[in-house]
């Protein structure tokens, strides 16, 4: 009996499961090479779990990085790597895939991953939304360009862009009255003032999903019936059931975190996330989950369009900027001017951090999409081939 390894989850059910498995192995007449196969499979499954755990530990290590653009990129990167490893292990165990219950487990995973595709698309739209905000911020920065003397005209210009930004960041339902105000302050009274038409300018940029699509529902669907495999399943699949379960959870978590961070349609975060602590990655994942949930409940983040740190920074700096712009009397004092320049500086930093990060993030989200598709296609194809004599 091979020595049971040292998984940090002590006395874990998985370990017991594995011991039983090794017992049986010795007693079974093995076809030549199968013993070797089982042993390898065991090791590779263990190391997969370990690597996933390590990645999540790393993600939860620095608290001030949480939910920043770079953290999200790190999260996606670890998904991509895990997905790759998952795919390779499946490939090496191709012959096992069409035997029940593995075939059902795999098919389930692929079902979930299709749902994740829609989340990826919605997130891409959300990134575009942030890009629109970035453009409006750019106008504010141009208006309050540090080199010149800041006059009333510049203020008005900045204010207009700020109002556009505020409307854009609001929920669509609330935009209506904000828009009416805006037109009153900055536009003339249009005879043809068609509110609906104006609203169109700020309509949510959702191209990939219908109006009725809901990120919350999609997440719930991804997590639906996601239960830790029973011992008989683990044995029947030589442990591969655990692999699928782990990957499914990684998928769920990553999608959930994306929805938490980036604006998208119907961003509900209430997803059932009970993971059995038998898995070593469960603890760091749960911790991340808790911290993100905490963040979402904070008073000033409850109605945020997205929990991305940079969005928070936008909200903060724009709020301060708005206050400043509103309170300014012309001609402005030197002191006031100093404040303005400071706010501009802050806003400029936020702007830079977004500008650099959005394109790579979008690229990664697309990569996640493509990887999921590829893995699913391969998996389904090999499932199909597995049937019948050949």
């Amino acid at each position: 009996m091979p020595a049971t390894t040292d998984s940090s989850a002590a006395a874990s059910f998985t370990n017991i499961g594995r011991s039983i498995l090794s017992l049986r192995r010795d007693q079974v007449h093995s076809i030549e090479g199968m013993n070797m196969q089982h042993h390898d499979a065991d090791t590779e499954l263990e190391s997969f779990q370990k690597r996933v755990t390590d990645r999540f530990l790393d993600l939860s290590s620095s608290s001030d990085e949480l939910l920043t653009l770079s953290w999200v990129q790190k999260l996606l990167q670890s998904f991509l790597i895990s997905q790759d490893e998952f795919r390779q292990i499946l490939f090496r165990n191709k012959s096992q895939l069409h035997k029940p219950p593995m075939d059902r487990l795999i098919a389930d995973y692929f079902e979930r991953s299709v749902k994740a595709l829609d989340v990826c698309n919605a997130i891409r739209d959300g990134i575009e939304q942030i890009r629109q905000w970035q453009k409006l911020i750019e106008i504010v920065l141009i208006a309050l360009d540090n080199k010149k003397l800041i006059g009333e005209g510049h203020f008005r210009r900045a204010k207009k862009a700020m109002v556009d930004l505020a409307i854009s960041m609001l929920d669509e339902k609330e935009s209506g009255s904000a828009l009416a105000n805006r037109n009153r302050s900055f536009g003339r009274n249009n005879v043809r003032d068609n509110l609906h038409k104006s609203l169109g300018h700020f309509r949510s940029l959702s191209w990939s999903v219908s109006r009725s699509w809901s990120a919350a529902r999609q997440l719930q669907a991804i997590g639906n019936n996601l239960n830790a495999p029973r011992s008989h399943e683990i044995m029947a699949t030589n442990g591969l059931a655990n692999l699928v379960f782990t990957m499914s959870f990684v998928l769920l978590f990553v999608m959930w975190a994306l929805v938490a961070a980036i604006p998208c349609q119907d961003r509900g975060l209430q997803v059932h996330f009970s993971m059995s602590r038998q898995f070593s990655w469960a603890a760091p994942m749960l911790m991340l989950h808790e911290r993100i949930m905490e963040e979402s409940k904070k008073r000033d983040r409850r109605n945020a369009s997205g929990l991305l740190r940079e969005i928070y920074q936008i909200e903060k700096s724009t709020r301060l900027m708005n206050e400043l712009l509103d309170s300014a009397q012309f001609p402005i004092t030197e002191e006031k001017e100093g404040e303005v320049r400071q706010r501009v500086q802050e806003l400029s930093m936020v702007f830079e951090s977004i500008k650099g990060g959005l394109n790579p993030l979008e690229g990664q989200v697309r990569e996640v999409f493509h990887k999921i598709v590829r893995s699913r296609t391969e998996g389904l194809d090999s499932l199909g081939k597995g049937n019948g004599p050949d």
């Binding site: 698309n121 699509w213 999609q218």
Partner: protein, 617 residues
């Protein structure tokens, strides 16, 4: 101090020159020359009001500009309703912009600085007004594109039935699409906005960009056109569907959506997007980067929407029935790729181009996947219930007709399979045929009678060759394959004959060897043989009466072969029998069938009606 004075002098000289309509420096130089000649008198010469301040000329200009501009900014009437108004307004704005530019170097002076601040203020107000006017012009001209009767009459789509997209369009000029084109011609140029409007927009854009308000201008432009585009797409019947929704949709609905998508993609890539590109280039003429950026903003969403749907199809089920529609999507993307690359050619669109290619490749994968699924279906088709009478199996019919239909798109399929890993289309087809045959062989084993196995194989084999022969499929599989296959059918034929009729035939063999019994023993043997012959013959005919051979020619071949085998032998036997001594008094009584009777019985075979089961005579 002296330097400061010279600068101011220069500014004034330039200002005067400009007021006189000269923007170059030569006149300013001349004026300067004149000033220097005035020397002492200069300080006393009042060029403006009795105002010695250095900012005086600036203030003076600003005052008049303020007068000119404010009336427009405050006015509720659309400035662009009257071209004299709009020109005057633009001229004032131009002057304001250049005044600011000229005097900005001297912002160090406090009073000048204060003037400049007011100038900036005025500029901002002008820009706000210009932005509003820009928006109005864009909205006024832009009613969404309609597929009205005249358009659809001149656009060719695969299916001629249009959904109810023919709302009566407003009669605004912008909706009339010049359509004097022949069918199949997508070269319709849409004037998205009237030419005059486009010029006006460009004039405004020029000022906004040079005043540093280019981003606002671009923002308004993109929002308006994006909305227009979105509306046009939805009027084309295109819905926003998530990938999951497409997977869950019943196939018939998906087919409808695909038809709409093909139409919408053609219209978008051949008409709408190029039209937007032209419009962008004209409105932002002179500012190519603003044009590129705005174009991308406008078209990105709709493009993603189109590509998403194609992706959803590529990701979808591999059920073989989907082949023809997936081919539609594949071919549409393939055919429109040049248009795609032409219209999305600039730097900002690289990602989109790559996406389109990725999705197109994925569709190719999907098609290969569909054939794989077909293979699986064939392999998995169970050998449960035998086809009665050894006739044509539904799977044979299905596969052959499927492949024939698929081969109508041979060119596309060859493209798809070339890009695939190993096999070309011919190899793929040959493989499917092999799978089919293997499956049929397994099915044939259900029949316990080996002769029936062979009949079954013959029937299906014959059908296969027929369907292959006059078709693309035949050229894919090649003459060799057809020859081999025909040979197989002949082989089954001889198997059939051997396993069922040889026995019957064998009875009729008359031994001519010396050791053969003769005399009474010989006679008895002949009698027994005859009885046996009839027994076998009847049994065989009875068994085979319910068998089916669907192909008339094949049926004839079989019957002829049996006839050729039996008739001469039977005839000889009968003669022998009759002439044999010791048989009995009336040998005719023992002869049940004449040769003709035998022939008739044989002729009744394979009708599947059991007609020759009943004994005659």
């Amino acid at each position: 101090m002296a330097e400061n004075g010279e600068e101011k002098l220069l500014a004034v000289a330039r200002h005067i020159a400009r007021t006189l309509g000269h923007n170059d420096d030569t006149m300013a130089d001349d004026i300067l020359q004149i000033f220097s000649n005035f020397d002492g008198r200069f300080s006393r010469e009042k060029m403006t009001d009795d105002d010695p301040r250095p900012c005086a000329p600036l203030e003076h200009s600003l005052k008049s500009l303020h007068r000119q501009i404010s009336q427009y900014v405050a006015s509720d009437n659309p400035i662009w309703a009257d071209s004299a108004d709009s020109s005057a307004f633009l001229d004032s704005v131009d002057e304001l912009i250049s005044t600011i530019k000229d005097w900005s170097p001297m912002a160090g002076d406090k009073s000048i600085n204060a003037c400049l601040a007011r100038a900036d203020d005025l500029l901002q107000q002008s820009m706000f007004r210009l932005e509003d006017d820009f928006r109005s012009l864009m909205e006024r001209g832009g009613d969404s594109f309609e597929l009205c009767d005249s358009t659809t009459a001149n656009l060719s789509f695969d299916d001629d039935d249009d959904d109810g997209n023919e709302d009566d369009s407003d009669d605004s000029d912008s909706n009339q699409i010049p359509v004097a084109q022949p069918v199949n011609d997508y070269d319709i140029i849409i004037d998205a906005l009237p030419s005059v409007t486009v010029n006006d927009l460009n004039e405004i854009a020029k000022r906004m960009v040079s005043a540093g308000f280019g981003k606002e201008c671009s923002h308004v432009y993109s929002s308006c056109r994006r909305e227009f585009l979105e509306e046009s797409m939805s009027r084309l019947g295109l819905q926003k569907l998530s990938i999951e929704e497409v997977q869950k949709m019943p196939w018939q609905e998906v087919e409808e959506q695909i038809d709409r998508w093909v139409k919408a993609t053609n219209v978008a890539l051949r008409i709408l997007f190029p039209s937007e590109r032209r419009l962008c280039d004209r409105v932002f003429f002179g500012f190519s980067s603003a044009a590129d950026l705005s174009f991308m903003e406008v078209c990105r969403g709709s493009t993603i929407q189109l590509l998403n749907f194609a992706d959803a199809i590529a990701i979808g089920s591999r059920s073989p029935e989907r082949l023809f529609k997936v081919l539609d999507v594949f071919e549409t993307l393939r055919d429109l790729m040049p248009e795609f690359e032409a219209v999305f050619s600039d730097q900002y669109c690289l990602l989109l181009r790559n996406e389109a290619v990725t999705i197109w490749k994925r569709l190719g994968e999907a098609i290969r996947g569909i054939f794989m699924e077909l293979e699986n279906l064939i392999r998995r088709d169970p050998a449960k219930a035998a086809v009665p009478g050894g006739g044509l199996h539904p799977i044979t019919r299905y596969v052959m007709n499927y492949l024939r239909a698929a081969c109508r798109s041979t060119q596309t399929l060859e493209q798809v399979f070339e890009k695939g890993s190993s096999s070309s289309l011919s190899v793929q087809m040959a493989w499917i045929m092999e799978l089919l045959e293997s499956n049929l062989e397994v099915k044939s084993k259900i029949y316990r009678d080996p002769a029936l196995c062979s009949v079954f194989m013959m029937n299906n084999g014959r059908y296969i060759v027929q369907k292959v022969n006059d078709n693309e499929l035949g050229s894919l599989l090649g003459d060799d394959w057809i020859r081999k296959h025909n040979a197989k059918v002949r082989q089954y034929h001889s198997n059939y004959q051997r396993s069922s009729w040889n026995k019957v035939f064998g009875v009729l063999k008359i031994d001519n060897i010396p050791s053969a019994p003769s005399g009474a023993a010989g006679a008895r043997s002949l009698k027994e043989k005859l009885k046996l012959f009839y027994s076998y013959f009847d049994e065989t005919c009875k068994t085979q009466s319910s068998w089916v051979v669907f192909d008339e020619k094949l049926r004839e071949e079989l019957k002829i072969a049996i006839t050729k085998l039996l008739l001469p032998a039977y005839g000889n036997f009968i003669v022998k029998f009759q002439n044999s001594p010791d048989i009995c008094k009336h040998p005719e009584r023992l002869i049940k069938y004449t040769v003709e009777d035998v022939e008739v019985r044989i002729d009744e075979l394979f009708q599947g009606t059991g007609a020759s089961a009943g004994g005659k005579k």
